[in-house]
Subunit: 344 residues, 2 copies
């Protein structure tokens, strides 16, 4: 079990006295903005949780874990919510906790909803998902010393408990699968560089290519929104290259892009799985019914829900989590869209 | 506003005295099983809620609405959960309520989970979905006098508040759409007769056919599980009939069956939308990306969530709901799978 982080560790990290940290965190003194920021940064990096919160938690609890999520656009479907909520609810119930759903208002700051639930003592902890770089929820919850676990990673230097899918591992394995079939010119439909999840997946693709001694040509990597329309257009650009030159395989960073790519190939009279291999990521249940059925990577959603709650229960139990950083590998599901030896 | 149902109404309906009803409901007397059942039936039919509950509600409230759902099989996806939960959460929050998710254990009796949440005063009310005929949750909650609203209907003679999609209306309109394109031999992929939702949808199909003076031949209506495999096999049986005789259109009672039918048609070299029209129901977001894109009926999930909570808040506010039985029409979305004039 890791050492418990105390005020003294925070003080050492921030280069101020123990008393200053205590007073600043309890809002009993005003210090310079620069000092306050240094202290807050130390709180974040070390993952410090004030004892006050721990004391409160021991006494009066709502036994509720707050959760909300960014609603899925109407042309897509949230394929993980059902299993994720059921898994969390089941894991929480065994310790007398339930999951409280609260609404997510699009285009509005998310913090007020979290603050309100804390201030009204409505919940004891949060699970956050769709985590971004510099996610303001992490900063806010750590400053409040309020327990949470993230489904997803954020800034590497930030210390907080999370469970995440190992996207690099998944993308590495699907790329290796294609290399094993003899593909060399493997293109990628990726998200913009700002996407943290996209960077993880890109790392796996590039790693596998590099290990095979292949440097992707500039036109092979297309970046855009992870939807059908982008997949269609980007795959069109890739497939419109001359035959001996165009990629023989396309790895898409999610299933929607892959479905767009399927359509682009079919519009060009290419037989997917024979003339060109196409793979997705997420294994949306419906992709097995496409013609041809799509190779994809399935996220271990049930396990993620179980692990998220198990870490949270450790924190609520006032113990340091035994394993606060969990990466789970997705499962490669090979289907007709990529099961033939490379043709060109 | 409807008249408030009192003990006297229940007594009159059950043919017993006011005192007997009161004592039975308060468990102060033992009567014959037959009398008790008659009283409980009257409670159900009239939708009576004991005042005791109303009094309790006025005093101590968790301000939580319990909800669970039957998890979707892993080869399908719950396409409504995201929007339904967000809509309910948002509607509830304006009155200080939140949605509490509790786990659904497959293959186990569901009542204990509901009973437990009532007994521990964890929730003030429930929303129930996937409602069946003789749904034991309705019987249980009415006997406990505990507030709930259903997404879905049950036995017609039972009186309880619900919001539902008007499946008959939707299926009538999609059948009329096909009739309008000149189709006469229209087959249906339906659920078993025991399915209440299936009966509603069948009513719409048969009604439209009857209005057009067409009696479906025996082979036109296929019944089975609402999944891809059944759709594939049932459509194969339909499409393997001789050309001048086989149906030129197939209405499926959900999208999964329709996707199976698409595959069956494609395997037979039939061009869907030209040689045969195929339609679905539910408008799963992905069906717009199929080749050809699928005509379907979209359920007004956001509105359903709003109406369910609005009725529940009236009940929790101790007023009779102004409109306790709401049917909302689905939206017909016409796409390539059924946009051509009938060919045969």
């Amino acid at each position: 079990m890791a050492q418990r982080i105390t005020l003294k560790h925070v003080a050492a990290q921030a280069g101020v006295s123990y008393q200053t940290v205590s007073k600043v965190l309890n809002k009993q003194v005003q210090v310079s903005k620069e000092t306050e920021e240094r202290i807050m940064e130390a709180v974040r990096i070390l993952g410090y949780r004030p004892n006050q919160v721990a004391r409160n938690l021991r006494t009066q609890r709502a036994r509720l874990i707050g959760y909300t999520w960014a609603p899925t656009p109407s042309d897509q479907v949230n394929t993980i919510l059902d299993q994720f909520l059921q898994s969390m609810s089941q894991a929480a119930e065994s310790s007398g906790y339930h999951v409280l759903c609260f609404p997510h208002y699009f285009g509005q700051e998310t913090i007020p909803a979290y603050r309100d639930l804390i201030d009204t003592q409505r919940v004891d902890a949060f699970v956050i998902s769709s985590v971004e770089d510099n996610d303001p929820r992490i900063t806010f919850l750590q400053e409040r010393g309020f327990p949470f676990v993230a489904f997803g990673r954020s800034n590497p230097e930030w210390e907080f408990p999370y469970v995440d899918v190992d996207g690099a591992d998944g993308m590495r394995r699907v790329t290796e699968h294609l290399l094993g079939l003899g593909h060399r010119r493997i293109a990628a439909l990726a998200w913009p560089e700002a996407s943290r999840v996209g960077r993880n997946r890109m790392e796996g693709y590039l790693g596998a290519m590099q290990s095979a001694g292949i440097t992707p040509l500039p036109g092979w990597i297309q970046r855009g929104e992870g939807n059908f329309k982008f997949g269609l257009e980007a795959a069109a650009a890739i497939l419109d290259q001359p035959a001996g030159q165009r990629p023989t395989a396309i790895v898409a960073f999610n299933d929607y892009m892959a479905i767009g790519a399927l359509r682009a190939a079919q519009e060009r009279g290419l037989q997917v799985g024979v003339d060109v291999a196409i793979t997705g990521f997420d294994d949306i249940p419906m992709v097995q019914y496409l013609t041809p059925a799509l190779t994809s990577l399935r996220q271990p959603i049930w396990d993620i829900g179980q692990r998220v709650i198990s870490i949270l229960l450790e924190i609520l139990d006032n113990t340091q989590p035994t394993d606060p950083h969990v990466l789970l590998a997705p499962q490669l599901v090979i289907r007709q869209s990529s099961n033939a030896v490379a043709s060109a």
